[in-house]
Amino acid sequence: MNKNGLFVDGIMTTLLDITCGDQARIVRLSQLVVDNRRLLLAMGLVPGVVLTLLRVAPFGDPLIVQVLGTQLILCKKEASNIWVEAIPSCT
């Protein structure tokens, strides 16, 4: 559990470690420079938000995540700084 009052039931992993189609909740954004973080925050990537990993690019690098009804393209470097806990899928 972290100090912010967010419960971490699952194991915390980075966005890179979840598979396509999985849902996850953002736990924290680490080690991003303030300037880089700002855009992520404006796009809705804040701790507590649930996102879905939709697909991976042909060359394996940028990812598409769905967050707040928008699809965002994120590159691996950013994704590796986004810590999430996986939400077990309902199906």
């Binding site: 404006a42 701790p47 697909r55």
Partner: protein
């Protein structure tokens, strides 16, 4: 600006996320009364226009700000759009008179409101216009705009852009605000209301407000105190910098203590506050019913194919191929017609008219061969450019451009470029001119610059005409291999230059790559036509300023003759003969001077190379006689230039060499090695004048010259190195010296250019 200044009642500023329908609203509001320029100091297009008020009595000036996601000053200035917006809102914007129209997207309310809240925090007078209302309603969601207005504390107007009365209500709202001027300062509770959910931020905010109250002289005092305090907590370095050192240290300490107590930095906490407030607002405003998300479904199905891991790249190449096919083949078939007709009109026609009125020969040359030829060159480009820009507009408008960025990102990151940069580079294979112009689709200045600098190495279709002729003379059996190798060499030189630049002058600061994948959008023909027209007009305007004077200069040079062995010979040709020894190391012997002059004419346009080689190798009597203008002849020429007439007798660019010229050329070049070296030089040296002038306009004089010098040096060095290694066995010592010299020339050149560019900075 041709409107009466006194009757402008207000400035309105259109502001919002990218792709929310800002441009559509701008076009609806201003109609034809708009103009496009660059924002001061940067090459980001800004649009400005005006509309008439409801009673047709006065004007409202409309400014279209670039779309952005957050109001923020980026110190690295990488995100120019945000920089411009920030500068505009904090400096240019007159908070007592002007009005902001904040356009928010009903389908992405949360994210749109994130920006709106930041605007309201600044306490600027604004009207919120909600777009895509109909899309949301189709999904079965009702929005209560009155409640939204109450929650936000500013007028809210639903826009369904297709309907006229929404414009009226927008104008009415603007006029009502104008009537109540000066705008009252909005209540300062906004910020307090925002941060109340985070007690730590509230405390720090109060502390900073007190500090700011003691501040005497600073620019920050022109803005509301509570906003400044909030921005300081949010980590806005441009504001922190304006504070005295003592206070700066205090801000730092406060930020640090917040991060220690709450385990999250203050800016994340503030973002969290904003989202909490937004959730609260949306809960009040949104009335749900059944959600059937058809559009998302359609998007998802399309993307399953378009962004498929295995199909995405083949599909992308098919799209690019189709664009090429349409613009180079279909639209390009009109090129000949444009060429012949404009040549008849502006060159032959003008000349014969002037001859009839007994104008002096030099003036005829200046007007017909200079001005006329310049106009002719520009006209010839128009069909292909129109085709390419139309498709460029189409893929941008439909949302495919965003997908290209996704597909190609990894590949292009090798050069530190975004995936979108692949498109201008591909277009470069057709024609370098639109490729350089298409680099505007990139967001960051450095990326644009790099793309423009490496584009000329993409071998364009005009250069292909030179290759084909040479291949038919020297490489009959493996012509396609030679052409393929040339293309590959061009690409590798582009990559080489790109890498060199990336690791020296244009080092990229690591910035995040986050982009919204825009939903597919049914392309609006009207908007695409407008885009194409704007690009074409921009091309004509910019080109004429540089190309026409240079054409006139060339034309004048073309008339000066000198006496040589009792013949009068053109000075230009004499000069060609004179400089030919420079090209000896790459295999052009001194009796092969037509090849040199071919290179010179290639600076004007690569299509001309074959034409001039044809004349020079077949006759070697350089004085050209002007043909008498006759209507019969003109009609024949136009007839043969029609796209549906298949024999291209009249095409001067693609005309293969005559038999005599071909034999002469083979004899003078000697062997295929020299010919290949020549082709290498043609591939890499100065691109055509049109590309040069567009490049100069796009990236500035100093970078333009850099591009010219670097490409020519690279061309010379490559050709010499190739020729000397190919003939190494004949004269090992000489070859060795030449190769060594060329490599050190390249290194020296690079160092010098690097130095110059850095001092220029």
């Amino acid at each position: 600006m041709h409107i009466n200044r006194r009757r402008v009642i207000t400035n309105i500023v259109l502001f919002g996320n990218p792709n929310v329908g800002k441009t559509t609203l701008f076009n609806r509001l201003t109609g034809k009364h708009s103009w496009v320029g660059n924002w001061p100091g940067v090459t980001v297009e800004g649009k400005c226009g005006y509309c008439v008020s409801q009673d047709n009595d006065c004007y409202i000036q409309v400014v279209d700000l670039p779309g952005c996601y957050t109001i923020h000053h980026d110190i690295s200035q990488q995100a120019q759009d945000e920089h411009i917006t920030y500068q505009y809102l904090t400096q240019t914007f007159n908070r007592e008179k002007d009005i902001i129209i904040n356009i928010i997207d009903a389908t992405h309310l949360t994210r749109s409101l994130y920006l709106t809240l930041q605007l309201l925090e600044m306490q600027l007078p604004c009207i919120v216009a909600v777009s895509m209302v109909d899309v949301v309603e189709k999904k079965g969601i009702q929005l209560n705009f009155d409640k939204l207005s109450k929650q936000l504390g500013c007028p809210v107007i639903p826009l369904s852009v297709s309907k006229r009365h929404t414009l009226c209500s927008l104008k009415a709202s603007i006029e009502q605000m104008v009537a109540q001027r000066p705008h009252q300062i909005m209540s300062p509770e906004r910020v307090t209301r925002l941060i109340k959910s985070q007690p730590g931020i509230v405390l720090a905010h109060q502390q900073l407000m007190q500090e700011l109250a003691h501040l005497k002289e600073s620019q920050v005092l022109t803005w509301p105190n509570d906003w400044v305090a909030l921005r300081l907590l949010d980590g806005d370095t441009s504001i922190t910098k304006q504070l005295p050192n003592v206070l700066q240290a205090k801000v730092k300490a406060i930020l640090k203590s917040i991060e220690q107590t709450y385990d999250e930095p203050a800016d994340i906490l503030i973002a969290d506050c904003r989202y909490r407030l937004i959730r609260h607002i949306i809960a009040h405003v949104k009335q749900h019913s059944i959600v059937v998300d058809q559009k998302i479904c359609m998007n998802a199905t399309l993307d399953r194919w378009v962004l498929n891991r295995w199909l995405a790249i083949p599909l992308f190449f098919i799209v690019i191929y189709l664009i090429f096919w349409f613009s180079i083949e279909v639209a390009g078939s009109l090129q000949q017609l444009f060429n012949v007709v404009s040549h008849l009109m502006f060159v032959d026609g003008v000349a014969s008219l002037l001859q009839h009125s007994h104008t002096p020969i030099w003036l005829i040359t200046l007007l017909a061969d200079g001005l006329g030829l310049g106009i002719n060159t520009i006209m010839t480009f128009l069909p292909v450019l129109a085709g390419i820009f139309f498709f460029l507009g189409l893929i941008e408008d439909s949302g495919y451009m965003g997908r290209i960025a996704f597909i190609m990102d990894r590949l292009m990151r090798f050069l530190g470029l975004p995936g979108k940069a692949f498109v201008p580079l591909m277009i470069g294979f057709g024609c370098n001119v639109p490729a350089v112009m298409a680099s505007r689709t990139l967001d960051r200045a450095n990326d644009r610059l790099l793309t423009v600098l490496i584009t000329p190495f993409m071998s364009c279709s005009a250069r292909l005409s030179v290759y084909t002729v040479f291949c038919s003379a020297f490489f009959v059996n493996n012509a396609h291999n030679i052409v393929f190798i040339l293309y590959l060499i061009g690409i590798s030189m582009a990559v080489l230059t790109g890498l060199l630049l990336r690791y020296t002058v244009l080092r990229n600061q690591q910035s995040s790559f986050v982009m919204e994948l825009p939903p597919y959008h049914y392309p609006q023909l009207n908007d695409i036509m407008r885009y194409t027209w704007r690009k074409l007009w921009g091309f004509v305007r910019r080109m004429s300023r540089l190309l026409i004077p240079v054409c006139m200069l060339f034309a004048l040079l073309n008339t000066i003759t000198v006496k040589h062995n009792n013949h009068s010979v053109l000075l230009l040709y004499q000069a060609g003969k004179f400089v030919t020894p420079i090209f000896k190391p790459m295999g052009i012997e001194s009796n092969n001077w037509p090849a040199t002059i071919g290179l010179f004419s290639g600076i004007l346009a690569k299509e001309v190379v074959i034409g001039s080689l044809n004349i020079l190798y077949s006759t070697e009597t350089p004085l050209k006689q002007r043909e008498a203008f006759s209507w019969l002849n003109a009609r024949m020429q136009i007839y043969h230039a029609l796209p549906w007439v298949t024999d291209n007798i009249a095409s001067p660019g693609a005309r293969p060499l005559g038999k005599k010229a071909l034999g002469n050329m083979v004899k003078k070049f000697g062997d295929s090695k020299a010919a290949f070296a020549y082709l290498l030089f043609v591939l890499l040296y100065v691109p055509c004048l049109s590309t040069v002038s567009v490049t100069m306009k796009e990236i500035g004089q100093s970078w333009g010259w850099f591009s010219l010098t670097w490409s020519t040096t690279l061309a010379y060095a490559t050709a010499v190195i190739y020729y000397q290694s190919a003939t190494f066995a004949l004269h090992p010592t000489q070859s060795f010296v030449w190769i060594g010299a060329m490599i050190s020339l390249l290194v020296l050149m690079w160092c010098a250019l690097h130095r110059i560019v850095q001092t220029c900075k």
